[in-house]
Amino acid sequence: MSDFFSTLLDEFPQVRAGLWVTVEATVLGSLLALLLSFLLGLMAGSRLLPVRGVSRVVVEFFRGTSLYIQLFWLYYAMPQLTGYELTPLVCGVVAFGLNYGAYGSEIVRGAINSVPRAQYEAAVALNMTPFHRMRKVIMPQAWVQMIPSFTNLLIQLLKATPLLWLISAADLMTAVEHVRSRTGETLVSYLLLLVAYFVLAYALTLLMNLLERTAKRRLGLHPGAGSLLKTRTAESAATAGGTR
């Protein structure tokens, strides 16, 4: 046991670097996912059938073909097919972005649809341009609705990052796995790893709750007491099945 902690201390630079890779993959992956969510989600609300169709096909494709396969395809198959090779971290970011972006677009679409029709009509009556209408009236209200579901998705993405270990990106799991193989302390290593991910997930949840609070305040809504520490919401339980 003491052997384990001395090795851990010994390997601390690698573990820290691994943690950094995990955080990097989570942040960059979720940013790409966020971008795609909005792009595909707004496309799904288009009046033009081809635009809606493209969004539908892309979303169903990336939701239906398993993240694991997409990651492996990018890492193993793409170099073979195109001769172009991505670094493991980039593979991870692209795969996470595409997969969770597809799920996220459903959140964006649903939230925009949930804004009352009268808000639309009022904005039209005020002669707002479509862009102005979206930016000043629809989106601020839809955004508040999106945040709890996005929080769930972000945690899912974080939980998918150990996949990087399989494509030899030096992430947190890789680093701790290395400590484990050096010391043979299986149980302690994996418990430590689980706790590390739990802490990361909790920190992200807290940040997202802060974001939700700010967004609600902008609309003049009361965030309600104790909402900062909650780890899930009633809505998230109800929509969890639907966003999958």
Partner: protein, 214 residues
């Protein structure tokens, strides 16, 4: 180096992949079964009158839910070396998804009107009868589509089992890919199998959801 898609490799690897697919399906079905039963148990235990039951249950559940399935799988396989990998896979998948399904059940139980509980008390039904004859039949009715959706997403996470050497579809795909240097073909094929199996099922669930009036 640009290489064309090798159709012979597709034809060659398809039987292997389908053989692995049977293991994938088995893991999904049994894993869903574990998740459905255990999720219900967790939801009921979370409402236990004693805090000594409900608080530990909720804490453990929160922990399992917020930590990666892959780490849980690899960890369990490394700790319980004498258990068969497929069994570990099914149990870990089931436990992980039980933390999701318990939320679905919880929402269902919360949706049962308070008057039903009071009526049970007025009739002095035992807690067992209360749950069995009154609360659960009302709570569980509408959870079917949600359980189905979780089954689909579990199905798409079964490739994780390949990591602990369960010989499911992706395991076979990787093996064939390594042996014949044909990653493009096998992974494309495996992806399509996932798409073809999961998309119609998700449409079916959507239909079921509509019919049940969600």
């Amino acid at each position: 180096m640009s290489q064309t898609f090798d159709w012979d490799a597709v034809r060659d690897s398809l039987p292997l992949l389908l053989q692995g697919f049977r293991v994938t399906l088995l893991a999904t079905v049994l894993g869903t079964l574990v998740a459905a039963v255990l999720g219900l148990a967790i939801a009921v235990a979370g409402r236990a009158p004693s805090r000594w039951v409900s608080v530990p249950v909720k804490t453990v559940m929160e922990f399992v839910r917020a930590t990666p399935l892959l780490v849980q799988l690899v960890g369990a396989a490394a700790v319980f070396t004498s258990v068969e990998p497929l069994t570990i896979g099914i149990v870990v998948l089931g436990i992980h998804y039980a933390t999701y399904t318990s939320e679905v059940y919880r929402a269902g139980i919360d949706g049962v009107p308070k008057g039903q509980w009071e009526a049970c008390r007025a009739l002095s039904l035992t807690p067992r009868r209360t749950w069995q004859a009154v609360i659960l039949p009302q709570a569980v009715r509408n959870v079917l589509p949600a359980l189905g959706n979780y089954a689909i997403s579990m199905f798409k996470e079964t490739p994780f089992l390949a990591v602990i050497t369960v010989q499911e579809m992706v395991f076979e795909a990787r093996k064939y890919g390594t042996d014949h240097f044909a990653y493009t073909e096998v992974f494309t094929l495996a992806g399509l199998v996932f798409l073809v199996a999961s998309y119609p099922t998700s449409l079916l669930m959507r239909k079921l959801e509509k019919r049940l009036g969600h």
